[in-house]
Symmetry: C2
Subunit: 298 residues, 2 copies
DNA sequence: TTGAGCTTTTCCATTTCGGAAACAATGGCA
DNA sequence: TGCCATTGTTTCCGAAATGGAAAAGCTCAA
């Protein structure tokens, strides 16, 4: 019969990329790790890890097995938390992946509020703009901005995402404001990294504009700084430049045009029959925080 | 760290209702079962089973834990089957719950066709008209006829369900055929057990008729036999009386009226990230068998 | 009241498990 | 190119766990 420890060890070996490292993390000698991986492979009749003495890689069977094992382990964690009566109470470690800018501006400031209600919970937050495979990377959930797709994940909408064209008053004073969409051709535009093309919706329907400008970067933080500094016109989300619009550091241009509306801010997590309390609570917290009309829209 | 054997033992104790029985089933002495249940409870800090020396019942925590453990165990089974390369091949035991009549008429005859393609698979089929909790009862899937509801289960539609009013020619000869819906009041009607009221849809909209007749039973098999024997008018599904309609043993009455159409034949299974191959294959088999227009409708 | 059948405890034999050490293999670095 | 630190594997041994038999305590039904 399968030993659960073998699965934990296997998962740790994969996530740490080495048997020795897994052994150190779990408090076992390398010998034990090696033996139990071998035993697991023998029982399954398959090689899970392709190993040289210096590095380890997953076989195809190993990859699929690993994805499943992660689900099983968190399932067990959740079942034990439930039975231990800590079901409605968050406990353990909550691993979250979130976009860098949004995470810094609209998650980080609210974390303390969540943590003080859940003292037994540790948060691991990774900010990245890569669309990581949350199940393979071992995340409990991710906050994402994008179109809702993704097969095996459940998405819960947190807020709509509005994107506006904007520039600094300074820039407008120097270059004038565009009156119609074609005027953009005579302006400095600041494309952001993963949407080189601007999908815009206006009174006359939708349109794709290819922005051209002096600055190309993969960092939306740099675009943000550049537009505030008066470098040109950018298409920015309201959550990103809401305060600047209110304070007058930025003004909207071509207000009849907005970014295409099929973007949403959502929380995604692996589909599971029983969602761990920590995940449910955190998503509820975010949803309540942003509400139907997020504070950055008001 | 949790021992997987403890979970298997716990699940078996619950499903068999006794520690001794679980021990016999798993090949352990009663002493071992007792010790490991105790260990599990100690680790969780909760009592899972309320026990007297003669019988065992689940505590609330135990019930929730049991539901989760079942998911975990089948998850492990699936993960191992995947890694063993038997992923696309059905293997193990497939436990199915199905309605009695439908199961006898439209599942049982086709089982051999499925089994000969999957020699490593054993089938456990339980026919019952109770809406059992498939996850708690340890079923992999169920075939159901009804309105699509149910929260945590995934339903896949297999076929629409049409229900017609019918009677034997013999009965019609003796009693005449009803011409309009109100005529039913002067006829013998045969209600079936779980739909005492007939929800009908006709040209003038829908209607609920309360059938009155000399025979009341909870067995749809008896209703079926009765209507064929000429005891009255019944509302039967086409999958039930299709052959009799074709052979002339039964004729449709009030053809402008049919049973309400929001009934479907569907396969339901617990929502899981990785569906076991055996379940997927069997559902595919049934779906292909019945097709968009089931053979009993043709 | 009795007895069958259940759970639990105790003690013992057996198996399994983990670690240290020795060994083999690889890749980085001088 | 050659050295060496690091890594995975194997072997052997002590320690811990597991499973079983027997006995005890209990409950329900006849």
């Amino acid at each position: 019969m399968t030993n659960l420890g073998d699965l934990e060890i296997f998962a740790r070996v994969v996530s740490s990329g080495s048997m020795s490292a897994a052994g150190r993390a779990l408090g076992f000698s390398p010998a034990v790790i090696s033996k139990r991986i071998k035993r697991l492979e023998d029982r399954l009749g398959t090689r899970l890890l392709q190993r040289t003495t210096r590095q380890i890689s997953l076989t195809e069977a190993g990859q699929g097995f690993y994805d499943r094992v992660l689900g099983i382990l968190t399932g067990i964690e959740e079942a034990e938390a439930y039975a231990s009566g800590r079901s409605s109470q968050a406990q353990g470690v909550l691993r979250i992946s979130a976009p860098t800018s949004f995470g810094r501006m609209h998650i980080a400031p609210h974390l303390t509020g969540f943590m003080k209600d859940h003292l037994d919970l540790k948060l691991h937050i990774v900010l990245t703009d890569d669309f990581t495979d949350i199940v393979a990377e071992g995340f409990d959930m991710a906050v994402r901005i994008g179109e809702l797709t993704d097969s095996s994940l459940v998405a819960r909408k947190l807020a709509p995402v509005r994107r506006l064209l904007c520039a600094s008053p300074d820039y407008i004073a120097r270059n004038g404001a565009p009156n119609e969409i074609g005027d953009l051709a005579r302006h400095f535009c600041l494309p952001a990294h993963n949407n080189d093309n601007w999908k815009l919706e206006g009174p006359e329907g939708s349109l794709v504009w290819h922005p051209e400008g002096p600055l190309v970067t993969n960092s939306s933080e740099i675009v943000r700084a550049a537009v505030i500094a008066g470098a040109g016109i950018a298409l920015r989300s309201t959550w990103d430049i809401g305060p600047e619009l209110r304070s007058g550091q930025l003004v909207q241009v071509l207000p009849q045009w907005e970014g295409s509306k099929n973007l949403t801010l959502s929380a995604v997590y692996p589909s599971r029959q029983f969602l761990p309390a920590k995940v449910r609570l955190f998503i509820d917290y975010l949803a309540a925080l942003y509400g139907p009309v997020p504070y950055w829209e008001q």
